[in-house]
């Protein structure tokens, strides 16, 4: 009996083995970046749902609200509508502030509030002419601009006060609405500061249809902005250091990637103190030059040759740079913020939004920044940055009179103008998170360490290059900002 069983098993074994070998196994899952991205609901073709005539932007919105009754209320809670953030305690002090694009000073066009009719061309609403604009009442729901984020014809243009430009076929535009694309976001965010690549070092027109060499997520994987900035109730996560202090829900590499993704002990150890962006955004403004310096004091010179990348009479002189290394500073996600009316020391560079953090801060990492430096107007008596009106009647671009421009500008910002002005050096920090490169193009050891390294280790708070000295911090207190910040 046992003999027969043994013989039977012996005969069956090869057959079983062959069967196992030949039967196709369960397919191995392919790792794709899309694995981590929620797939949106299938798009509904609106071409048959929208009927004209639609005589104005608010008329379009009213049509939208028939099927999406909550959408406008949701948008009105966001900073894309209010141009202001939540009330937060200012990092480093007990002062509670509510700041945003509307009331902050920058070193590009300086102040949106003083020029709101022009600046609100990028507002997700209609009719923001002046301070009387209604941000909150239900009646204002129809002023929410759905099209700027959802239209897909590419023909939609906004003008002063955010109103649709004449000639826009609002019916055609409204029929095209769909999930936002890079075009929708980019028309404002790529062109911040009045032109392509002016403000951001990592967002410009090359990202409408980026190649892989520009950004691995959008180029190779074909991501849209909203694939990472995943929106709920029209709240779009992400936090720009230029219009806030750092509070708010952020988008992070680790939303999709593992915290220690390299499969290499040495590289993974870096992630404790080095942001992913530092190595994976080795260069900024890859294809399109970005503005690095803006000297307003040069404006108004007659007869000087004009070039949008070097000098304009209305704006002064500029320096642009392309495909350049970022600067690197500690950053814990929060920033000191210069508030409108805050006193300055004119003999020092005014740090408008200095990143916070240092080597001993467990939340801080070394980040890449575009640092836009400039020279802008300030009140020499009151010692604060002024908010000149540049656009419109009496604005500097019209009359080339700084004194008058400042008198008009402070009416909106609430400052007092002494009648005496001067020029002061300023710096703004723009953390980089786009133009991400794959590992094959990320920074290598020699890019940061050794003679060729671009990092100033002592300025970052180390005793020297940690590749040779180990992680040893200098004993004295080191500012988180970097060159200016540590002064």
């Amino acid at each position: 009996m046992w003999l027969r069983v043994t013989l039977l098993l012996a005969a069956a074994a090869p057959i079983a083995g062959l069967t196992l070998a030949l039967v196709p196994g369960k397919p191995v899952p392919v790792d794709t970046p899309w694995k981590h991205v929620p797939q949106p609901a299938p798009h509904v073709d609106h071409s048959q749902l929208i009927t004209g005539p639609l005589e104005s932007g608010p008329a379009v919105t009213r049509a939208c609200l028939k099927c999406h009754p909550n959408a406008a209320r949701q948008v009105m809670q966001t900073s894309h509508w209010t141009w202001a953030g939540e009330k937060v305690k200012l990092p480093g002090s007990n002062q509670v502030v509510q700041v945003g694009k509307a009331n902050l000073v920058n070193n590009f066009c300086i102040h949106a509030g003083a020029n709101i009719e022009k600046c609100s061309a990028c507002h997700a609403g209609y009719g923001w002419h002046d301070t009387s604009f209604d941000f909150t009442s239900p009646k204002s729901e129809e002023n929410v601009d759905c099209l700027v984020c959802h239209e897909q014809t590419g023909s939609y243009q906004k003008g002063n006060a955010g109103m649709p430009e004449k000639g826009v076929d609002l019916v055609a535009v409204a029929k095209s609405v769909a999930r936002p694309t890079r075009k929708n976001c980019g028309d404002c965010h790529f062109r911040g500061g009045g032109g392509d690549a002016v403000k951001h070092g990592d967002l410009d027109g090359s990202m409408y249809f980026p190649k892989e060499r520009i950004d691995v997520h959008m180029g190779e994987a074909g991501f849209q902005c909203v694939d990472c900035h995943q929106t709920h109730d029209h709240r779009i996560p992400g936090c720009s250091m230029s219009v806030g202090t750092g509070a708010g829900r952020r988008v992070s590499c680790t939303d999709c990637h593992h915290e220690k993704p390299h499969g290499d002990q040495r590289l993974d150890a870096h992630t404790a103190k080095v942001a992913c962006q530092t190595c994976h955004i080795p260069r900024m403004a890859i294809d399109v030059p970005t503005k690095m310096y803006w000297d307003w004091s040069q404006a108004g010179q007659n007869g000087r040759k004009e070039d949008p990348h070097e000098y304009l009479k209305i704006k002064g002189s500029f320096k642009y740079a392309q495909n350049l290394r970022p600067e690197y500073y500690w950053y814990n996600g929060n920033a000191y913020r210069y508030l409108t009316g805050q006193h300055i020391n004119p003999s020092q560079v005014v740090l408008i939004n200095k990143p916070l953090g240092g080597p001993r801060d467990p939340e801080a990492k070394i980040w890449p920044f575009k640092v836009h430096r400039g020279r802008q107007i300030y009140d020499t008596v009151n010692n604060y940055l002024l908010t000149p009106r540049t656009w419109g009647p009496g604005g500097y671009w019209t009359d080339f009179d700084w004194d008058e421009a400042c008198r008009l500008g402070v009416e909106t910002s609430g400052l007092k103008y002494s009648g005496h002005y001067g020029w002061v050096e300023t710096a703004m920090y723009w953390p980089l998170s786009h133009m991400v490169q794959p590992k094959e193009k990320a920074l290598q050891c020699v890019d940061c360490h050794g003679d060729r390294g671009v990092l100033n280790w002592r300025q970052l708070g180390y005793e020297g290059d940690p590749a040779f000295r180990g992680v040893a911090y200098r004993s004295q207190r080191v500012g988180g900002g970097g060159p200016e910040g540590s002064r």
Binding site: L3, E440, C445, V446, G450, R452, G464, F468
Partner: protein, 663 residues
Amino acid sequence: MMPLRCAIAFWSVSLAAGATALAGHPPITLRDQQGKNVLDSARPISTVQSCGRCHDTRYIATHSYHVALGSDETAAPGAIPSGRAWDWSPGPLGRWDPLTYRYLAPPGDARHDRDLAEWVSTYPRHVGGGPAQCIGLPKADGVEMNCFLCHTPKPDNETRLKELQQGRFDWANTATLASTGLIRPVQGGWAYQRQSFMADGSLQASRLGIREARSENCGLCHGLTDRGEQPLRLDLSLRQWSTATEGQVFSPQRICESAVNLRDKEHLTRAWDVHAERLLECASCHFSINNPAFSEPKLGHLKFEPRRLAPGQYLEQPSHQFARGHTSPGGLGHDFDGTMRRCEDCHTVAGTHDWLPYRQSHFARLSCEACHISQVYAPAVRQVDWTLLTPSGQPRIEWRGIEGDPADPTAEVTGFRPVLLPVQGLDGRSRLVPHNLIAAWYWVEGGQSPRPVRLADLKAALFQDGKYYPDVAHALAIGRAVLDTPDKVEAVRRRLKAVGVVDPQIEADVEPHALHHGVGPAKWAIRQCETCHAADSRLSQPFKLASYMPGGVLPKAVGGSELSGDLQSADRGLTYRPSTRQAALYVLGHNRWPWVNALGGFSLLAVVVGVVLHAGLRIRVAQQRKKRGSPPSHSASRSPRLPPPPTGNGSQSASTPPPAESS
């Protein structure tokens, strides 16, 4: 001397702390050979005098095989291990080089190619000192060991070499500073820019940039090294020695970011050398052998050796004998073989090679380089033909790893896969190491005491007024202008005899050059088993050596390495085909040895026969027992003390206690 000791002690602190520049180096006074400040004497700088005030330069110069170049290891011609019949030193001084045809005949040889002064003036890869200091010409003081060449950031090697070529040996070291702005050329020498010096006539060390030797200093003589700041370019010449002979480039730059017109470059995202990319310098592995930072216990029972030179002592007498490996053919400094840091001295395999089956077998037969230098991305020389000079008086040199004219920067570089040759390690085991092979053909004279035909004789034999002699030109008119037919060979041989060369014969050799640099990151190493274990294994792939064989002469291996394969001529060219059998390797999946197949077949047959026989017997025995009604015998034999199976109770098991009657 005490203040100097203090300075050295301070300096040593910055060294020990891993500083990248010697910021603490004290000011230096540049002195001439009489010890006078050169600002006063206007004489050439003596590095022995200038640096020797703090450092023991005489000790340094006598402890450096870079200085001696074999002059301290001379022997009778032909007595040099792994050398040719006419070599009288293991180093460039007396070892003939088939690539450069540079031969310093042994002392007393009446038919010398060049004398010592001529050799010094034409040999670009000597740091001075040693034999170069003994030139003994009336107007030449000799060339001291050139500290500036290795210890300043931008030594002007080209200007130094020009001085040597012009025979102004005493100014050669001074000229190395030409790019510093400290000197300017004047009639007959160099003048010092006094305004660049301090008021007391000394010089800030930072003005010279004195520092430890970096890779780019080594690269001045050894091959292409750079720091990757600019897109890397290849200069296919013998000046970049290791690049020319081995295709090695020591640079942290990603290959795809270089300026080399390399095939599929966009995919080559690795660095030219991963160690350069990880901030290692040449001296990280090839360190000074008495550097206390690298000192390791020599006794097996010690983990740490506290008795070592203090940093200050080391800086006073730093040995310039550098740690080295053991695979360079016919090289210098064999007393220091195996002193270098090898891969295994820094890397562990645990955790990194767990995926590799039969790890110990692989490590016993393969060098790390075999898998980690799987491809070379720069061209290298494969053939040198001195049997017929080109009209410009140059040899014909063929390169591997490039398609088109090597002088054309747009020629496409393809790189090459090195050939694996067994090399005996210091532990006595042979392991496969990647190599480039260079075949050279040349004329030899002398019969019983052979030696290469002097270059001057060769040129005199071939050329008349800058053109080939008519009979040579007539012979070359048919086919390629190379000695690939007996008629062409005979035409040149007749001319050589005409200029007095005795019994000229063509000889040829193949010299292996081991590859240890150009290491790729782990992910670029060979991981596919079939690369070696398939029928078309790389271990047996042909490796082209030449597109033609001058005189039909088959080369022989030189340089101490054995070729474990066959040289095969094909299409008038020459190919080396490695043989795993000759390398005493049996590679699973690749080798097909008949006796192994026979043994395997026989074993299988024996097993089948045994199984069938055994099964048949058991079946037969079982049937017989069944007929007799008796239990199987093996049960009784294996359990002699067990009682017979119980009857009437099927549930009782073998472990059931015996029935009551047995107790």
